[in-house]
Symmetry: C2
């Protein structure tokens, strides 16, 4: 980060024609974007939304209200422009790219084996890493993968403690029996891989999700390229969370866009010390919460770049 | 409202390619817009932001951190395009119209006399009423007026009970002494006009704010024209609140866009039974919170209008 660019942005906010602090988080967002984009007046000309899709061996354990076939069907829906994220990207002026990761080869059932081999994990991370270039101004990450709220719950538990009861929620809408199966699946996975879970990357490989690994790679690439990140909901946040466990401040370049209605997300945000920007009761994934928050960042940048100062406008300051 | 249009919108939401309810308040917003626009698929082609400005006799009591001269200076800043609301309207694709109401003739100090005569009050209401036509798809209302958080606190107290301590906050940033003066001013106004305050419109005239009266008129006109409304912060919400006291459901066509950091706003929202859409720590007024929320409504409409149904996309439903 460029602390100088952040300080310059902060100094500019102090002289714009408004009571100091009265734009609230819009002021902070302008400063945060300045610091990570390394320019005192940040811009949002190129906003990229990356959605990664993967399939999960644990779906055979009845952890989702929808069949695993829906992952591929929704990828087709993304391609045809019919999903929520297509409309939200168009509304936000963002470019959407969807990457399906070996949908025909689901990860292994993590209650029985590591979800991915090291090679499979690194390949998925590399796919995400390679999808980010330094010429974008903001990255939004999201996912599609039937069963992946169970994966995310297991990973969150591995990284921050707690069990299936603490982290698993109803996802796309399972009933009480389904929720009990999700919790049991998480607990079985934690028990099966207990010896590996103290290493955040080993935990991500063992509990899996190729789409989660790709998100981790993309968020890491953004860090190296000076690209600020909007995380989507529970799954995306869990996917990126190993970076915060690997190094203090490892997710300082990322903001959580929306507090998902999925039960574990607020707990995970709190564990990461992050306050989501929006709270609209959404729980869809697909980067939908991230895309919905893009206009908030545009508003912050528009005010920062376009407002007159007290001196320019001839407006009296505080008495 | 057209309950049939709302029901049609609700039925469409149920078959779009997402788990039911997973777009949270975006689904509700699409249905609300449909109901008040009286069409199953709402639109946001023409979004109008009205900002009304007024001056307040109570400023002589030291209730603001800024001199009263700033009201006119900020109106000039709006005209020159240098204020936050100019940038926010441009970012939101909204049309901005600013109306200054007799800035050279502040209202009377309400601790000594009614802020406005009946004729003055009705003239301000009529100005706001006349600013709204049926050809707009969404109305945002906001205000500018040094001293008007004290006015709003007094009006909120008159409508919902409580005193200056309960309703007055730091506004643009008064110190402890200034806050004490605000509270005392509210209490003096409530005592001075106690006999009139059981009538919501009489309270609005006695405690005043020409810009508050104009907002009341605009929100009333929107109701008659079938135009949904986004209320801005504490002052705008207080300005419209008499309509909720005059008739149950009198503000059902209005949503509070943003929970202001000004202390009284959450209490006022709760008294009106409304949950603000955004919570970004803003406390600027000028319709800034309303304009910031316009893209959220655009996102809701984009999803509602553009998404494929399960049948259209060939996506399997719940198991």
């Amino acid at each position: 980060p460029d602390k100088g660019a952040g300080a310059a942005a902060r100094a500019r906010q102090a002289v714009l024609t408004k009571p100091p602090g009265s734009l609230g988080r819009l002021e902070w967002l302008a400063e945060w974007l300045a610091e990570w984009q390394r320019r005192p007046v940040p811009r949002l000309e190129r906003v990229l939304v990356l959605v990664f899709a993967g399939n999960h061996g644990i779906t055979r354990r009845g952890v989702s209200a929808f069949p695993a076939s829906v992952t591929a069907q929704m990828v087709a829906n993304f391609a045809a422009g019919g999903a929520a994220i297509n409309q939200l990207c168009a509304a936000a002026g963002a470019e959407l790219r969807v990457t399906a990761l070996d949908l025909d080869a689901p990860t292994a059932d993590f209650t029985e084996a590591p979800a991915m081999t090291e090679a499979e994990f690194l390949a998925a991370v590399a796919t995400g890493y390679g999808a980010v270039s330094a010429d974008i101004d903001l990255l939004c990450v999201g996912e599609m993968g039937i069963g992946n709220t169970t994966t995310a719950a297991a990973l969150a538990a591995a990284l921050f403690g707690g069990d299936g009861e603490h982290w698993a929620g109803r996802g796309t809408g399972v009933d009480d029996a389904g929720l009990a199966r999700k919790r049991a699946t998480v607990d079985a996975g934690l028990a099966r891989h207990a010896a590996a879970l103290s290493d955040p990357l080993a935990a991500a490989a063992a509990l899996g999700g190729r789409e989660l690994a790709a998100i981790l790679g993309a968020v890491l690439a953004a860090r190296h390229a000076g690209v600020p990140v909007l995380l989507d909901g529970f799954v995306s946040t869990a996917a990126a969370a190993p970076l915060a466990r690997l190094a203090p401040g490892g997710l300082d370049h990322a903001v959580i866009a929306h507090a998902s209605a999925e039960a574990g997300h607020r707990k995970l945000a709190a564990a990461l010390g992050k306050e989501p920007l929006l709270d609209l009761g959404m729980r869809l994934g697909e980067a939908s919460g991230a895309a919905a928050a893009v206009p908030i960042l545009r508003a912050a940048v528009a005010c920062h770049a376009g407002m007159a100062t007290f001196a320019e406008a001839g407006v009296d300051g505080k008495e």
